[in-house]
Each structure stands twice: as structure tokens, then as C-alpha cells.
């Protein structure tokens, strides 16, 4: 269970990173959310065998990490958490799709492997950019940006509450699981069966807490509207950031930069 605890500590660390004081951090959250959203849509829009055209897209997270002074090693380790799921999704491709798609000298590579690598690349790009977004903007900033961009308030408030109480809930869950573990004396205890009432207890406790929070909100004059004070400014820097990156993404989408670069290099070598 130590795993879950450390994962959540890391989560807090990600949030701490968002308090940085670089030009990227200071940008209005909306600019970063918009750019990242377009980035993800463009990356996902490629065909299933695209590998080379995806490579230039690493420019965006790389530049933001560099300008935002983010620890690249830490983010890369976070990415590793997602990788098992990605491998699970993609691993069947090489088995089903055995047609040779390209040959590297004597090596014949099947379409399955190509699409597998494409999936891995895309996941790294999309998850990576989302992590970078959180590390430069903070979860709260993202939620508030979503609201300013027109997402209905109830959804945004749900997200904010989720983020606020996920820490409290995991702490409760970790305590309960620890109590179970200590009393099962290193063995399996009563096995999986013991987890059902455990989850039930957790649900009931959450229910109680929700009621108390609602009471706390009512006590302070809550009437269904959620006010958050924030100074927003979508200025030149934000416009440049958003339009600039969106332009770059569209360029990368339409023109295969890797192929052109490759062509130049082969030309120069000849």
C-alpha cells in the first residue's frame, strides 16, 4: 500500500511545481489549456501507422519543460506509471497485423509493430503534455480556466471538489487498509472478501462527510452559486503563446517535418 501513499505525495509535488515563477507559469491558464487541448487533438488525429510525423511534436512539451524549469526526470518517471496500460492496449497489434509495412535493410517490420509504436508515442505525448500542463498551471488553475472557457459551473465545481477531497479520501483509505493489514499478520487475512465491507465503509463515510461539507457551505450563505475570485488577463503574451503553438501543431500535422529533415540529411550525405 506504500505505493498509493507515495503516488499521492508525488501528486502534491506536481501541484507545488505549479507555484513556480517563470514566464510559462505566469501565462493565463486559458492559454495553456487551449494550446494543450489543440495539441492532444492534433496528435490523436494522425493515422494508425504514423510514427515519424509524431516525433516533431515532442518540441512542445520539451520547450515548456525547459522554459518552465520543470524537473524532466520526475515527469518522465510519472509517465512510466501510464506505460503498462499503454502496453496492454497496444500489445495485441503485432500479433494480429503481421503484414510487412516497411523494411529496414534485412529487417522486415510488420504493420502491427508500427501501429504499436504509434500508440506508445501518442500516449507519451498526450499524457506528457497533460502532466506538463498541471505542473505549470496547477489543477485549480485548469478548472478555473475551463470555467472561463464556457464549461458549465457544476462540472467545474465537481472537479474542484474531487481534487480537494481526493487527498482526504486516500488518507482515509490508506488508514483503513493499513488497519486491515496489521491485523491480518502478514498473511492474506480474510482475502478479497474483506475488501467489500471496507469499500462500503469508505462510501458511507464519504457520504457523511459530503453532508457535513454541504452544511458548512450552507452556514456560509451558499445558495447554489460558486464564486472564485481570480484576476484574469488574456493579453498579448497569451495570444502569442496560443496562436503560435496552434500554428506549429497545424504545420506539423500538414507537413511531415521528419521526412523533410531526413531528406535533407540524406541529400547532404550524398
Amino acid at each position: 500500500m506504500a505505493k498509493i501513499e507515495t503516488t499521492f505525495l508525488d501528486f502534491t509535488y506536481l501541484d507545488l511545481l505549479a507555484e513556480g515563477e517563470t514566464a510559462v507559469h505566469r501565462l493565463d491558464p486559458r492559454a495553456k489549456v487551449l494550446a494543450t487541448a489543440v495539441f492532444i487533438v492534433v496528435v490523436v488525429s494522425f493515422g494508425r501507422y504514423a510514427v515519424a510525423p509524431l516525433v516533431p511534436f515532442f518540441l512542445f512539451p520539451a520547450v515548456v519543460v525547459a522554459r518552465g524549469n520543470l524537473p524532466a526526470g520526475f515527469l518522465a518517471r510519472k509517465l512510466l506509471f501510464v506505460l503498462p496500460f499503454v502496453l496492454l492496449v497496444g500489445i495485441l497489434n503485432p500479433l494480429f497485423d503481421r503484414e510487412t509495412a516497411l523494411t529496414l535493410g534485412p529487417l522486415a517490420i510488420s504493420g502491427g509493430w508500427v501501429s504499436f509504436f504509434s500508440i506508445v508515442l501518442r500516449s507519451i505525448l498526450t499524457v506528457g503534455s497533460a502532466l506538463v500542463l498541471i505542473a505549470t498551471t496547477g489543477f485549480t488553475g485548469i478548472c478555473l480556466a475551463l470555467e472561463r472557457l464556457g464549461v458549465p459551473q457544476p462540472f467545474v465545481v465537481q472537479l474542484l471538489f474531487l481534487y480537494r477531497y481526493i487527498f482526504v479520501l486516500t488518507e482515509e483509505a490508506v488508514r483503513t487498509v493499513r488497519a486491515r493489514e496489521l491485523r491480518s499478520c502478514g498473511r492474506r487475512g480474510k482475502g478479497v472478501g474483506a475488501f467489500a465491507p471496507l469499500v462500503g465503509t469508505l462510501l458511507l463515510r464519504t457520504w457523511d462527510r459530503a453532508e457535513r461539507i454541504h452544511l458548512a457551505m450552507l452556514c456560509r450563505g451558499f445558495r447554489g452559486e460558486f464564486h472564485v475570485r481570480r484576476a484574469y488577463r488574456f493579453g498579448t503574451a497569451e495570444t502569442l503563446f496560443t496562436l503560435g503553438w496552434v500554428g506549429v501543431f497545424i504545420l506539423f500535422r500538414l507537413v511531415n517535418v521528419s521526412a523533410i529533415l531526413g531528406g535533407w540529411i540524406t541529400e547532404m550525405l550524398q
Binding site: Y163, R164, I213, A216, R220, V228
Partner: protein
């Protein structure tokens, strides 16, 4: 000012599962009084507090806050007047940052932004938490959370402060600071607590509940001297009124000394 009065008349509350938590509780708390509601676990303290801001509706009886009875119409006004600090500050701090949290109430009151800001900074300063303004609540320590929770209530400028177990879970230093803070308030204050030493320090008056009934209501010192009553209610004398654990000497409280002198003169 008469409108800071809390009056409870023959209050009864029975939970839907049939548990009778309050069986006819009556008292009247005047403006500026500091009153502790004490009693064993399950004596009905929390249920009583939840009536004071209209979260629970009485099964029978009446609650009056200020000059009006607590009804559906007066509820918003009553909730502004009665500031409630919960036992678990995690229930009370639900916004992304401390500032947002303290601003939540004033913004709901519809105050202009500058007024909100000054109120927030002012109430955070009063509890000594100015440096926490931009922090998210989940990164605060227990004592910090408690102080911010009090600030969220102060920002509503309530006339009556109600606190459920204010000192539980605090380290001695944080507890001491909190007691100092609460001493300064001129509000009408109502606490529940098992920390009887805190009660002795903060409250002139104590209401003892047992099985949903008021069994004693009077000056704190007098009630804490009544050992029979305390034992019957699963309570005990505050440590500061007990003998020294090493030599067994009882420190004399100033008023005891005065009384003894009087006695001597009378004789």
C-alpha cells in the same frame, strides 16, 4: 444588544431511527456570554449545536436567535448571525486556497470585491494565519486548519460563535494559542468540549447535558466543584482544580481565598 441572545425552549429532537437525542432542553444565553455545553459522549451536545443554525429542525420546542424564532424564512439571516466552527476542519475548508475559502462566505453575502478582500485579510490576521493566504488547505497542519476554519467564520462577522470541540487534535502549543484567541473575542460564544480545563479558562457558565436533558446550568467553578454531579455525568474535575499529582496540595483559586476570608470574618 438584545439580538445576540440564544434562547432554546423545551427543545426535543428524535432522529428518524427513533433515537431521542434531546428531551426538552431549555436555556437562555445572553449577549457576550461564553458558555460551554458539556456532557458524556452521546449526551446530545452535537445535536443541540446543529439546531442553533437550523441544520436540524426541532421535533418540538423552539429555538430563538436574537429576536426572531428560527423558521424557514429567518434561516438565511440566522446562518449569517451564527458562525459555526466544525470539529473536523476538513469539512469546512473546501475551496482551492485558503483565501478562496475565507472569501466564500463574504462573496455569498454579495459584498463588493474590495470589501471581501479586506475582510479576508483581516480575519486571517486575527487568527494569525496571514502567511497561509495562498496555500491549498490540504497542505496545512492540523492547528493551521483549525485557525483558518475559524477565520472563515469570522469573515462572515457573526454575532454568535458556535464551536464543536475546538481543541481536539491540537498540540499543546496550538491549543494554548487557540484559547488565547478565543479569550479575545467579544462575541457570544458557545462551545462543546471534553477539554474541561479549556472550559474553565474560557467560560463563566457551563450547561451540563445528560441523556438529552439539562442536568445543571450555572457558574463553571460551582459545577466543577460538585463531584457527585460530575461523576453521574461521566465527567471529572478539570486538572487545574485537582490536587497536585506529586504533593497532593490543592492550589487555591483566588475566589476560594476570598470566600474563606469572608467566612472567617462571619465567624
Amino acid at each position: 444588544m438584545s439580538h445576540h441572545i440564544v434562547e432554546v425552549k423545551e427543545l426535543r429532537h428524535t432522529y428518524p431511527d427513533g433515537t431521542a437525542a434531546l428531551n426538552g432542553v431549555s436555556f437562555r444565553i445572553r449577549h457576550g456570554e461564553a458558555v460551554a455545553v458539556i456532557g458524556a459522549n452521546g449526551a446530545g451536545k452535537s445535536t443541540l449545536l446543529l439546531h442553533l443554525n437550523g441544520y436540524l429542525a426541532p421535533t418540538s420546542g423552539e429555538v430563538r436567535i436574537g429576536d426572531f424564532p428560527l423558521t424557514r424564512e429567518t434561516l438565511p439571516e440566522v446562518r449569517r448571525t451564527v458562525g459555526m466552527v466544525f470539529q473536523d476542519p476538513d469539512d469546512q475548508l473546501f475551496m482551492p486556497t485558503v483565501f478562496d475559502d475565507v472569501a466564500f462566505g463574504p462573496l455569498n453575502l454579495g459584498l463588493p470585491p474590495e470589501e471581501v478582500e479586506s475582510r479576508v485579510l483581516d480575519s486571517l490576521a486575527r487568527v494569525g494565519a496571514e502567511h497561509l493566504t495562498e496555500k491549498p488547505p490540504y497542505r496545512l497542519s492540523g492547528g493551521e486548519k483549525k485557525r483558518v476554519a475559524i477565520a472563515t467564520v469570522l469573515a462572515m462577522s457573526p454575532d454568535i460563535l458556535v464551536m464543536d470541540e475546538p481543541t481536539t487534535g491540537l498540540d499543546p502549543f496550538a491549543r494554548r494559542r487557540l484559547i488565547g484567541l478565543l479569550k479575545e473575542f467579544r462575541h457570544t460564544r458557545i462551545f462543546t468540549s471534553h477539554d474541561l480545563d479549556m472550559v474553565l479558562e474560557l467560560c463563566e457558565r457551563v450547561i451540563v447535558l445528560r441523556e438529552g436533558v439539562v442536568v445543571a446550568d450555572g457558574p463553571a467553578r460551582e459545577i466543577f466543584r460538585n463531584e457527585e454531579l460530575l461523576a453521574a455525568c461521566r465527567l471529572e474535575k478539570p486538572l487545574s482544580m485537582q490536587g497536585c499529582p506529586v504533593c497532593g496540595n490543592v492550589t487555591r483559586q483566588p475566589e476560594d481565598i476570598i470566600r474563606n476570608r469572608k467566612g472567617a470574618v462571619d465567624e
